[in-house]
């Protein structure tokens, strides 16, 4: 079976996003706000304090928080070494209708108090507004007049640590963290995060088809094990398989005949 190039965002698009972010990061420019992933609310202009970056590369504080929770890894030149929540389209995860309620119902979020569910529900824009407002307050506690997104990373991280420890703030960061990881590892709108952790690319994202089987060649071609010579492929270093096809060494002295019957069930 050959791979179809029908990812929700194509690999080329993903790549250009990554490269684009790398360039943006290196130039310190904010990404365009005209695209669908832009936050829905306009933020008041912030007055940068002494130690903050001259210009933010984040669209808003929530955007920055997502990068703290599941960061894009950049090298010194701003090249993306490994993608993070933002490349994986965390905004798309946050836009899932009733995200808080269904994420709780699916065990992705712990059971939140009813009041928190109410506070954090009401759509992505509402959640974002609440979270941006909270982050503004938290940031101001550390640096008056500074926006969360403009704070040094160490301070941002400390704010997040404190928020996880605070009963009132914890639900907010839990929801944001869940959205980041759902986007990254849940194949919501792309498979960028999954590939970053070592999974093969989806064969067809639109059809919801991840991988259609093993063994395959390293380049992704499905191998018919009944007709092709796996040993030869392995010898060439071109086999991506899930079995070593050999038995593990026996365990001296461990006699299973007292617990296991001949068909492989416990006695």
């Amino acid at each position: 079976m050959s791979r179809s190039p029908t990812h929700a965002i194509t690999r080329r698009e993903a790549l250009s996003r990554l490269l684009g972010l790398g360039v943006l990061a290196s130039t310190g420019c904010a990404p365009s706000t005209g695209d669908a992933s832009a936050p829905a609310i306009a933020l008041p202009a912030q007055v940068p304090g002494e130690e903050v970056a001259a210009r933010s590369r984040y669209a808003d504080d929530v955007d920055a928080l997502c990068d703290v929770l599941l960061p894009t890894e950049l090298d010194a030149s701003g090249k993306v070494l490994s993608p993070g929540a933002r490349e994986a389209d965390v905004d798309g995860a946050l836009r899932i209708e009733d995200f808080v309620a269904i994420a709780s119902a699916q065990g992705i979020l712990p059971a939140l108090a009813d009041a928190d569910v109410r506070r954090l529900s009401g759509g992505a824009d509402a959640f974002r507004a609440v979270l941006n407002a909270e982050l503004a307050v938290l940031a101001a506690r550390h640096r008056p007049l500074a926006a969360f997104r403009d704070l040094p990373r160490a301070v941002q991280e400390q704010i997040v640590v404190d928020a996880f420890d605070d009963d009132a703030q914890r639900p907010l960061v839990l929801v944001a963290r869940a959205a980041c990881f759902v986007a990254f590892l849940g194949a919501v709108t792309n498979d960028i995060g999954l590939r970053a952790v070592g999974f093969p690319a989806f064969e067809s994202f639109e059809d919801g088809l991840a991988v259609s089987g093993y063994p395959r060649t390293k380049s992704g071609r499905l191998v018919d094990a009944s007709t092709e010579d796996l040993a030869r492929l392995a010898g060439k270093g071109d086999l991506d398989d899930y079995t070593y096809n050999r038995a593990p060494a026996p365990t001296p002295g461990d006699d299973l005949t007292t617990v296991l019957d001949a068909s492989g069930d416990l006695l």
């Binding site: 992705i108 999954l194 089987g213 093993y214 070593y244 026996p250 365990t251 299973l256």
Partner: protein, 556 residues
């Protein structure tokens, strides 16, 4: 309000409901009056083949509606999680999480296909001087029924290596690594028995198996039921049952087509098969509708003594120097197990694929290091601190990097133990849902888990790696995909249960519970084969009228 009458109504379509639908459906066809059989399932028809009115998405190129995404908007169509709302959120409070399938096929649409017969001693457990299982049941008594299920599901044992075995019937690299770890601590791993649909699997979806590779019940028992003329409605949640003069009335909501339409259906014979939590919840909600003479729960046992089947999952990594990659996401999600500890400690160990999303969020096991690696027991240790005295964080670059070991070095495993049924199911404060809880772990269960956790930690260490902190040691959270009990079977007249050995309510003729809810003890192995075998045995006795009134007479 929609309504109507069906002779037999089955609520739920998992291992209990599907077997009953297939067997009673086939039998009904042979009866002169051709009684009608209806299955009501609250989830959708992911197969796209059972309910023409199901309003799922379009059938895809694979011939079904399943997709490989963990977006909660999608997973809420195929699975449900029950939790203790007083638990996880308030850190440190005891809690429990139960995951179950939802939709035609019940748990089979998300399961791993492991199909083991329960060990003989699971049936022989005694508590307070009483055998937990009714005397009718034993491993030997269930053997013919196990064989029937194995035959229908195409269960076979995998091999480590065999030139003549199809590639997909071989265990995985993960198993090889696990087996080597077991060997290094003096134990042995062997290949598992599995139901699979002949596919070479594809370790990705949340349980790592492509849907058309999974031997789910829509391909066998439910298909048989449909072919016998059993009518199946998806999207129909039963909320209450109540007795009538000569049967039952079932009320609920039909959500097909988007709108929530109430329905009320009458029947002569009612089979409740909503799973351990689903069935217990439905009966708990309905208790008030049954008077004293027909009390549903005369012994106040509904929802009580629920087993987690001793489930305890951990994650960790093998060492960088270990010669093999694990690549846990490839191959079947479960394909070997280690029975070496069962004789002494009553647990087996199983390596499995766990989706990195769930590991990252830490519901059952975390990617954090434990402060005291050798600690075991509920809430026994916290998160490790780094050199500067700060706790490791479940976010940030270091955490992401740990996650990125997922492909090559991550190894996830768990134990299934004979626990002492410490769980409880209760009605949620609002809505039609249920809560679950696990207040205290008995000394017996704790000792078994301690031995299991110790063995698993030693396996990681023997492979040069380490075991991460799990939610039981951190927060006291018990997580299970194998809830059992809630409507326990008992000898008729015995006060310690809810239904008799045929699954029939003690005081309500023709009201049956046939699913995980009636299983009165932990099994020590994955339970689906036993649930289905018990259902086969109940269907057989009902059809033959052996030890109970025959179905034909009940419907006359």
């Amino acid at each position: 309000m929609a309504g109507g009458f069906h002779d037999i109504v089955i609520v739920g379509s998992g291992f209990g409901g599907a077997v009953m639908a297939a067997r009673l459906g086939a039998h009904a066809k042979t009866l002169a009056k051709k009684p009608s059989v209806l299955v009501l399932e609250k989830g959708w028809d992911g197969s796209g083949k059972l309910d023409p009115r199901s309003d799922g998405g379009p059938v895809n190129a694979q011939g079904n509606r399943f997709r490989h995404t963990l977006s909660p908007a999608y997973t809420s169509k195929v699975a449900q999680v029950f939790t203790d709302p007083r638990g996880t959120y308030q850190r440190g409070a005891p809690s429990m999480n139960v995951i179950a399938g939802k939709g035609f096929g019940g748990g089979s649409i998300v399961y791993d296909g492991v199909s083991l017969r329960a060990p003989a001693e699971a049936f022989e457990q005694v508590r307070d001087g009483r055998r937990l299982w009714p005397s009718f049941y034993s491993r030997a008594a269930l053997s013919p029924y196990y064989a029937m299920v194995e035959q229908r599901l195409g269960v076979h044992r995998l091999a480590w290596t065999d030139a003549s075995a199809p590639h997909h019937q071989l265990a995985t690299k993960r198993d090889f690594v696990f087996a080597e770890g077991c060997r290094r601590i003096g134990a042995t791993a062997v290949p598992l028995k599995l139901a699979d649909a002949g596919d070479a699997n594809e370790g990705w979806w949340n349980q790592g198996q492509r849907f058309e590779g999974r031997q789910d019940l829509t391909k066998n028992y439910l298909r048989d039921a449909r072919d016998s003329g059993v009518v199946m409605w998806s999207g129909c949640e039963v909320e209450h049952v109540a007795p009538t003069k000569d049967g039952y009335v079932i009320s609920g909501t039909d959500r097909r087509g988007g709108a929530a339409v109430p329905f009320e259906i009458e029947c002569r014979v009612l089979v409740v098969a909503g799973g351990a939590v689903g069935s217990s919840g439905l009966l708990l909600r309905s208790v008030d509708r049954f008077g004293d003479a027909r009390a549903l729960d005369p012994a106040q046992m509904l929802g009580k003594q629920v087993s987690a089947n001793g489930d305890y999952g951990v994650s960790g990594v093998v060492g960088r120097d270990y010669e093999h990659d694990v690549e846990g996401h490839k191959g079947k999600p479960m394909s070997s197990f280690c029975p070496s500890f069962f004789g002494q400690h009553k647990f087996v160990l199983i390596p499995f694929y766990a989706a990195p999303l769930y590991l990252a969020l830490g519901g059952a096991s975390t990617l954090l290091r434990p402060r005291e690696p050798a600690a075991s027991g509920r809430g026994s240790t916290g998160i490790a601190r780094d050199a500067t005295g700060l706790e490791e964080r479940a976010f940030g670059l270091a955490y992401k990097k740990r996650l990125m070991t997922f492909g090559p070095r991550m190894l996830t495993m768990g134990c299934l133990a004979i626990d002492a049924c410490e769980g409880e199911i209760s009605l949620a404060r609002s809505g039609t849902g249920c809560d679950v809880s696990w207040r205290e772990t008995s000394a017996t269960t704790e000792a078994r888990w301690k031995a299991a956790v110790d063995a698993m930690r030693r396996i990681y260490e023997a492979l040069g790696g380490e075991m991460y902190l799990d939610a039981y040691r951190k927060d006291g959270t018990v997580s299970t995909a194998h809830p059992l009990g809630g409507c326990r079977m008992t000898e008729r007249g015995d006060a310690a249960g809810v239904v008799d050995t045929c699954g029939e309510s003690l005081r309500n003729r023709n009201l049956f519970v046939v699913d995980a809810a009636v299983i009165p003890s932990a099994l020590g192995v994955n339970p689906s084969l036993t649930i289905a075998a018990v259902a086969e045995s109940i269907a057989d006795r009902l059809i033959r009228g052996a030890g109970t009134e025959a179905l034909a007479d009940r419907l006359a």
